[in-house]
Subunit: 350 residues, 4 copies
């Protein structure tokens, strides 16, 4: 009810704050006998971790995932899997200013209105730190999808106004910005540098593709597969928009252009983005999300304090310039969780 759980059968509940002991997740409903060990988490946790060179040194991994329950002899037992990631290096002093002043674009204001009392250190519960737990849950979901031949990949389609011109999925892992167009990646890096120099931040668009998804996933009416994906992705901090297949562009098409003709070999186009009537049609699932620019900037901003009086904020907390590329494994994780949940739901009644 309080919103910290996601999923019906494969149900994840995250917990923890950015400046408390750590963050974690309980996964209830994971089938038994799935192989799982701590090393499975290293790659995705490294991709989410801050720091420019994070992809180069997984050995220096700080966000180590501890399996507190649910795994015996390196296999899941069917009981709740608890994953815990300790917080380290949590100097919360820079956040002391937030006891008083609301950061524009952050949830400080709305949380204060909701709870009165809250852990303001580094955003507390609404810190991006919480997403480490989501990534860990996504790893477990991935272990279920893999043997089914279902792949989930996210990448940067647009950053700071620069859009990838083509999609070479192999290129994604070869540049720091997870962009499938190496030339665009270069321009994006330059844009990031400029924004950083200006004390400002950038927004962007990420695209997620699911390959090998069988038809029949998703439930009619409210728990449509696209509706669940929209919720899952919109629940990621900086996301302000979600679109499936042709998305907003479909609003400008005619039916004769937008309908995907069906051949004996499959769909001739994929404006549907792999989902018809909320149920997967066997084609590739294609989703895009809009990320707003990170609200933490170095520039001076107008705001108010807790008593509603005008205030100026110049806040120097550590922060990225853009949610991209660290958000990439988080988006993948959420999509994986949705897929596994719907696969299990599908098994229940058919």
């Amino acid at each position: 009810m309080a919103g910290n759980s996601f999923g019906q059968i494969f149900k994840i509940t995250t917990f923890g704050e950015s400046h408390g002991d750590g963050v974690g997740v309980v996964i209830d409903g994971c089938p038994s006998e799935i192989p799982l060990s701590p090393k499975d988490f290293v790659y995705d946790m490294a991709r989410r971790r801050p720091g420019k060179h994070r992809l180069e040194s997984p050995r220096k991994e700080k966000d180590q995932v501890n399996i507190l329950s649910g795994v015996f002899q390196d296999k899941t037992t069917g009981t709740p899997i608890t994953l815990f990631i300790q917080n380290r290096d949590v100097d919360s002093r820079p956040y002391d200013v937030l006891q008083d002043v609301f950061r524009p674009g952050h949830a400080d204001f709305s949380y204060f209105k909701k709870y009165g009392h809250f852990d303001y250190r580094g955003g507390g519960r609404y810190s991006a730190r919480e997403t480490a737990a989501r990534v860990a849950a996504g790893v477990v979901a991935g272990k279920i999808l893999e043997p089914l031949g279902i792949g989930v990949v996210a990448y940067t389609l647009e950053l700071g106004g620069i859009r990838a011109a083509h999609e070479d999925l192999k290129a994604i892992g070869e540049n720091i910005l997870c962009c499938p167009d190496p030339a665009a990646a270069k321009l994006m890096e330059e844009a990031v540098s400029r924004a950083k120099k200006d004390g400002d931040s950038l927004g962007g668009i990420a695209e997620i593709k699911v390959t090998g998804c069988p038809p029949g996933l998703g439930e009619p009416v409210f728990d449509k597969l696209d509706a669940e994906l929209a919720k899952a992705l919109m629940s990621v901090g900086a996301v302000k928009g979600v679109e499936i297949g042709a998305g907003f562009e479909a609003a400008r098409l005619r039916g004769s252009e937008n309908n995907d003709p069906i051949d004996p070999q499959g769909f001739r186009s994929n404006n549907a983005g792999g989902i018809l009537g909320g149920i997967s049609n066997g084609d590739e699932i294609v989703v895009r999300v809009a990320m707003k620019p990170i609200p933490s900037i170095l520039l001076k901003q107008d705001t108010v304090d807790r008593k509603g009086r005008s205030a100026k904020l110049e806040f120097a907390g550590r922060s990225d310039i853009s949610a991209i590329p660290r958000v990439i494994p988080i988006l993948e994780a959420m999509v994986k969780v949705v897929l596994v949940d719907h696969i299990l739901r599908s098994r229940a009644v058919t």
Copy 2:
């Protein structure tokens, strides 16, 4: 689990098929002592009803809502409210062709893959007919929002590529397309006529605004208010995209442009769309949805039959040219249901 319910406390469960006895909804969790009678449903049901002149003759109302339970002496009792709308004029013969052939852009194909056995008549459960039950549920939600001073209004922002240039909310009720720009409305009507003549259909964009929403609604992490709105709206048939506030445009802004400065009088801009960190901030909530063009067109289309063999489809079922404007009250209904659910959730723990 099977996806026919929405909401945690104010929980709606819809049922029924387009060519069965009727469609309906059970609302469990509605507070007691809310005034409610059959006439409350007339206006919104009329707006959803097919037919050009539907706004002119509510007396000839066909989609009459019967209150089967939960109301005594014109007030809700706190027990489940069941609303039922009988189907009439349900000649299903035109749909006989669908026993065999899948309509491109429709859910026929994915349903067949999921269930094997399904009610193909007029789309059965995935027919737009189901949304009549949603609109009825929205009316009940509206009776709770009204005394709280919370208003929900949806309108046509764009249709067939024509976009409203300004928003005069009074104009919405004065043109058949629910457009807040009368001049644009005229052009939209012409576009509809052209598409109709061509046997084709149109997509569009609708915008929804919530006024008077108190701060503090929404739960952190997964059940963010924007995440729930995204799910609720994406669950409406033809919706292919949802964006909040600046939405996809935010992806092209810098933080200094996108952050809404805070004054003692409130937010100076509203790129956030009234939601920060998933929780309402007291500002106007602004959401937009992309509607794909109606997949039912008169033009001949390539498809396959149930055995996977090539087929041509020329199907003359009754259909609108665009989901707009009939979708307008449905979008409003879904937003109302989300808001009431979060208001009640908020009461539970504070």
Copy 3:
């Protein structure tokens, strides 16, 4: 949330009041392709129906079950099944006195405290009338259990202090009190007559047995099979106690007496009642429930009115002398619903 739903995957939601239009149930999560038609309901509805000779004349069936949705060509479609039973013969005038005075032993008092406004006619929502919807749901569950070879039978173990001395399951259908001991049944009928003459009512104990239940049903920790059965059965109006296997008698046994030794052929005794650690062990499931005497009696009773002033109540509403035997099909229905839900849950993750 408001408590009108039961089950996780096979989810039933009942609605309706005793003196409104009727009562019904929406079943969401029923697998598709289960054969179902109105005649399937006749036998169980007849057993629940009031009137001495109800078993003799199913043709005069009054509680006819209408299938409003979810069934096409006499098979379930996987979409919500709505079953509706109209109320007839609902003269609510005898209940007018209840606008003012609380009936001892009834929920009038606690409902008034909870809701303020409620439908007092015949108990409204808390009337035994609601159980007609449960029986209808149980019929659908039964159609799923039958081909799996799982049988559920309930019968009268004790009534008015008279206990069945032996269990001849064939005898159950041959006496009006559903007692497996014909000699005890005779004595029970006499006890009922005496109580009736005295204007009083009787309590009793029913036993439910599940045969053919596979091992492995039930979830560990909170959703244990016995825990769910206890909830399901305790939710039936007059039930004041539930016990599994040896039940309260187990409290007086030693471990060496209570443990069921295991043979290669199975368990040598069944004090466990077929459930170990909350999970079915493949043995017969045995549950007993205690029914309090019907609180509606003809004798004058001390009570208070809505203003808290002393009052006398002599109320002549129609009523049975004992919840037994009409409760028998209701108990069976609840057990069937629990079993089907756990079978489907089991499929989801294994």
Copy 4:
């Protein structure tokens, strides 16, 4: 879905195994600003802890509760509270025999049938160890009930066939068996000694009383307060029966005896056990549970191995002679959790 969560608004999810890292609970939906610190847990954890003198030395507390999240400056924040209790002294070698042979009366057999692969060490997930997490959750619930003047107390009514003759609640804390009748407590201790000498174990009956409970808690139909209590209590390991108020005795009463007459001052008797129609009536809530004897005994038992072959079991794992008195704080915890959940549910809709 997998049954490790309980509650709708105040939702607890337990995790952990007896021989893994530890056990814990995530509480989602706890209101903010509830004072909470580690010392709050000491008393109840000590009562649940094994060892004869556990009540005398809380300083040597081993089951220390770590608050991993949800509390800031000694107050709850409204975000998920995670409580973790490390396992110590977990020599699992004595359990090696259970890789092969099923213990009669334990869940070994049914778990093996359900999962195939499971953590057999000390019962793994179905070990009584899991209840440490429940007790911790109960402490948090208790912090909410206390300022509302609601008290929950459980005690030993019967043990090894010896029943308390009267109830002096002050006496409960003064004897090791938590019995409100000091004379009976002595006889019970002797019975325990005899059973221990015989290598056998004992069953018993515990009673739980709730004082200060307001009327109006509980939901009609399925989530009746007594139904939820029945589930919560039956979900505790050794419980085989639950009864409310007069319970099974009500089955032998007439309506005129069982109905509680109502005075302006309240109910003249309490056969209802404080609950009418599933909703609290403001009177004391009275519930009794039957505990089977602990299945772990020293006597040699007949069983089978995993291949279904006859086997003898003589197992010397550490074990209590009776679930009483260690189960007492667990029963209290479950009742507290149910009450808090229903208080919050009640707030949501009224």
